[in-house]
Symmetry: C2
Subunit: 210 residues, 2 copies
DNA sequence: GCAATAAGCGGGGTAAAGTCCGCTTGCGGT
DNA sequence: ACCGCAAGCGGACTTTACCCCGCTTATTGC
């Protein structure tokens, strides 16, 4: 019985996928992300190179898959863990908590996250839409009076993940850790200012450019 | 006559640098960024491959240099052009104008900007610090009451450039343009909310996570 | 001019990503 | 149990970024 036209993944394929993921984790632990090559991975796993590329379409795809694994656990904490990261706290508090947790998450997986960036693919790290969707929902719950919550969510995702994915050096310099703590505080400030109610005063302030 | 211990760039080197930049511009115009290879560029410029790598340390370095060129002109407009992008307008208005102009700038050079991202180097697009420094200065002038303007500037740079550098597909899909306009509006909203004065009311709102 | 020298130059060599295509094999149907 | 076949597999092949190192040439002091 096949289900809905979609053939299930073959047993050997599933086995090899797991084998490859385990192997790549070992290689990263031993020698770092930089040293992982497709040939090396294939050989170490006792498989052909074609197999590796079939499973993960590119080198970046491997790290993407690796990140997806961890991302699932993270998502679990967000969706059903204790507040303020999980449900039960006020939206603004959850936004702050999410940012802090996300910064930490990405920092701990920094090398992998950067390796998951693909020069030819738009979406970078493991289902980056996770952040975007979650921010989108919480912003909505916060009852912000803004015309376009979606775009704001995109932008805040950039504010949250951009610095780590783009500007951080890949063997982190010693003072990077301090930067991170400051980024987390700064995120909290940004969110709280964004969400706080308007001053009752009625002087209009505007900026424009064509 | 040599100046200050630093040997000036040799005449032939400078000529070749310019030749290479022109050649790469031609190649991009004819066939797109993707089709630019180091061998092809060297051959077309009538130079050796080693020369190309000596001038721009990597493939990304070429596009970085290309972007730097344009960036200089952009910086000119920011430092001494007409307001609100140039000096003379209120800081908040300039922040808004800068964001709009920067989004447009990056969008127009999207393919090059993405090609300038280097998997092994932290700093991405042509002197990305330009945005960071400028935002930093304007935030200071806006007289924000925040403890750490530097981190905020880093984060806003991410908000501004991250979406374009990370999430936008490289042959832009048709509806990407609409996204861009929305991003610009959203940027304005973000800045204005961030900079507006606090409501006088004293109800504290806070969020925390360890 | 001329020698000394350091920078620039060239192109063959290496390594690693990604492609191709014929062979093999698990799987579902009978 | 057997058959047909779509999916999986492997590894040679191609492409391309990047390295190396001996040769060439612009520059500077005499």
């Amino acid at each position: 019985m096949k289900l809905g036209g979609e053939r299930a993944e073959r047993a050997d394929a599933a086995r090899n996928r797991q084998l490859l993921l385990n192997t790549v984790r070992e290689m990263i632990a031993e020698a770092g992300v930089e040293q992982v090559t497709m040939d090396g991975l294939a050989e170490r796993a006792g498989l052909g190179k074609g197999t590796v590329f079939r499973r993960f379409r590119s080198r970046a795809g491997i790290f993407h898959a690796l990140l997806d694994d961890d991302e699932r656990a993270f998502q679990e904490r967000v969706l059903s863990g204790p507040p303020p990261l999980g449900p039960g706290a006020a939206p603004v508090a959850r936004l702050v908590a999410y940012g802090r947790a996300r910064i930490r998450f990405l920092l701990e997986r920094h090398a992998v996250a950067r390796a998951a960036l693909d020069r030819n693919q738009p979406i970078p790290a493991g289902e980056s839409t996770l952040s975007q969707i979650h921010l989108r929902v919480l912003l909505g719950q916060a009852g912000l009076d803004v015309p376009d919550v979606d775009s704001l969510a995109v932008q805040l995702t950039g504010a949250l993940e951009g610095p780590i994915l783009l500007y951080l050096s890949v063997p982190p310099r010693t003072d990077d850790a301090r930067h991170i703590a400051r980024l987390a505080d700064s995120w909290q400030l940004l969110i709280e200012r964004l969400c706080r109610p308007a001053a009752p005063e009625r002087k209009g302030q505007a900026g424009q450019e064509g």
